[in-house]
Symmetry: C2
Subunit: 274 residues, 2 copies
C-alpha cells in the first residue's frame, strides 16, 4: 500500500496489519514516490517486482503498564485515568507517537503535585504498554478492572502527537456536552476552547473502557504534520515543539483537574456496536 503520509521524502510508513478469518496475506507499505513509480510503470504494461519483507513475529515477552495515582481527597470517589502509551515503532524514538503523550500526562500530574492541589477523585496516570502491537496493555487493564468500571469516572489518552492544542475531544452523550462549558471557558486563554463531541475515540488503549461505558477524552491537537512523521524514521525529538508540548501539559492538567472535581455525573459513554 502507498504510505499514508503528506510528506515527500521517500519514507515508508510502518503500521500493523489486520487479518480476518485466519487468512494471512503478506502486506507492505511503500513510500509515496515508489507507489507513484509503480503506478507509472504499471500504466505502461505488465509489471513485476521483487519485495523483501523482513518482519517477524517473535514469542511473547513480559512487559508492563506503568501506573501512578494522585490520591483523591474522597476515598469513595471514582478514578480519572490520564494516559499515553509507552511503546512505539522502532524506526525512531517515537517522540510524537507517543513520547509526547506520556510526557504530557506525567507533566500534568506533576503540575498538580507542585501546586499542592489534591483532587476529589483519584487521578491515575497510566503509561500503557503494547499499544502499537495489539493494545494488550489496555486490554490487560480492562480485564483486571472489569468489575470496577462504575468507579472509573472518565479516561483521557493523549495519542495524537505533539501539535498545538485547540481543545478536547469528548466521548460523551450529546446531552452531557454542556457540562464542559466552564472548562471550555477556562481553556480560552490557552487558545484551546474547542469541544468536539464524538461517540467514541477509538484510541488504542481506551476502546475496552469505552465499550464498558467509561466516558473518554483526548486533547484535540493540530495534526497537520502528524502523518508526515508518524510511524517513520523521522519521529524524533526535534519534531516536538516545546511551547506546544507545554500547552498540552497545561490542557491535560486542566482537563484532568476538571474531571476529578466536577460535581455532576457525566453519564456513561454512548453505546456503540463494534
Amino acid at each position: 500500500m502507498r504510505s499514508v503520509t503528506g510528506s515527500d521524502y521517500r519514507l515508508p510508513h510502518t503500521g500493523n496489519t489486520g487479518f480476518e478469518n485466519g487468512v494471512k496475506l503478506p502486506a507492505a507499505a511503500v513510500s509515496t514516490e515508489d507507489a507513484m513509480l509503480m503506478a507509472r510503470l504499471a500504466a505502461k504494461g505488465p509489471l513485476s517486482m521483487h519485495l523483501t519483507l523482513t518482519p517477524q513475529t517473535l514469542p511473547d515477552a513480559d512487559s508492563h503498564n506503568v501506573l501512578a495515582d494522585l490520591r483523591g481527597s474522597d476515598p469513595n470517589a471514582e478514578v480519572v485515568i490520564l494516559s499515553g502509551h509507552l511503546d512505539s515503532w522502532d524506526l525512531a524514538q517515537g517522540a510524537i507517537d507517543d513520547g509526547a503523550g506520556v510526557a504530557a500526562a506525567m507533566g500534568a500530574l506533576e503540575i498538580l503535585k507542585r501546586l499542592g492541589l489534591q483532587p476529589r477523585r483519584t487521578i491515575r496516570v497510566i503509561a500503557w504498554m503494547n499499544e502499537e502491537n495489539g493494545g494488550r496493555g489496555g486490554k490487560a487493564y480492562f480485564d483486571a478492572n472489569k468489575d470496577k468500571l462504575a468507579s472509573h469516572f472518565a479516561a483521557i489518552e493523549s495519542d495524537s502527537g505533539a501539535g498545538k492544542p485547540e481543545g478536547i475531544f469528548a466521548g460523551v452523550r450529546p446531552e452531557s456536552a454542556k457540562l464542559f462549558e466552564p472548562l471550555q471557558k477556562a481553556l480560552l486563554p490557552l487558545g484551546a476552547p474547542v469541544l468536539r463531541r464524538v461517540d467514541a475515540l477509538h484510541t488504542g488503549d481506551l476502546t475496552q473502557l469505552e465499550q464498558g461505558g467509561v466516558p473518554s477524552f483526548e486533547p484535540l491537537l493540530d495534526r497537520h504534520a502528524y502523518f508526515h512523521y508518524h510511524h517513520s524514521a523521522a519521529d524524533t525529538l526535534d519534531k516536538v515543539v516545546p511551547d506546544h508540548l507545554r500547552r498540552q501539559v497545561a490542557l491535560l492538567a486542566m482537563l484532568g483537574w476538571y474531571l476529578a472535581n466536577m460535581p455532576e455525573a457525566i453519564g456513561r459513554a454512548p453505546e456503540l456496536k463494534y
Copy 2:
C-alpha cells in the same frame, strides 16, 4: 558531518569527500536528527558510537559524454555548449540532480530544431558523464579540446535543480554584463530577467573551461528546496514541477540562441586563482 539539508525527515545526505596530502580520513554524513542526538548526548559526557561505512572504490570503467551538435550557419563561428550531467547519486533517480538539467538542455535544442531556427554559432548539447564522482567527463572534454578554447564562445550548464527560473548566472567580466540587457528584456515575460554576474560558476563540469577563459552561464533557479532532496533517496521524478521545467527549457533555448547569435565578443572569462 551533519547533512547539509533544510529538511527534517532523517535523510542522510551523500556527497563526495576530498582528501589532501594523501591523508584518507573516513568520513560520513548523518541526518540532522542524528547529528542533534549526538550533540545532546555529547553535551552530557563522553560519547562512543558504532559507525558502519559501506562505500567502496571500485576499478575504473569506461563511460561516455554524450554530445549533439546543432550546426551553425557560419562554419568559421565558434561553439556554444549547452549542458547538464548524466550521472547521479544512486540512492534515487537523480531527477533534480541532474536529470532536470539534461532534460532542459535537450529540450532547448529540440525547441530550436522544431522552430526550424539555425543559429550562427554551433550549439553543442553535452550530457556530461561522471560529474558526481570526480568531474572526469568535463576534464576529458577539456583535455580533448584544450587547443580549441578560442573557438568556445561560451558554455552553459544547468546543475542546480528543477526550480522556477528567475534569470541567469553569467561568469563574465563586469564590463561585459551590459551585453546581456536585450536578453534580460526578452526574459521578462518569463519572469526571469535577473542577471547575476559572478567571476566563475564552479559547476562540476565547466571549471576547466572557465580556467581556460571560456565565459560560463547557468540558469538562476529557485533553490529553496534543492538541498531538501539533493543527493538523497528522495530525489525522484515527482520533485520536478512540469511548469517549472518547461520554463527552464524556454530560458535555456533563449540563452543558447542569444549566445549563438550575438554579434559582440563577450571577452574571455575573468581570471581566477584556484
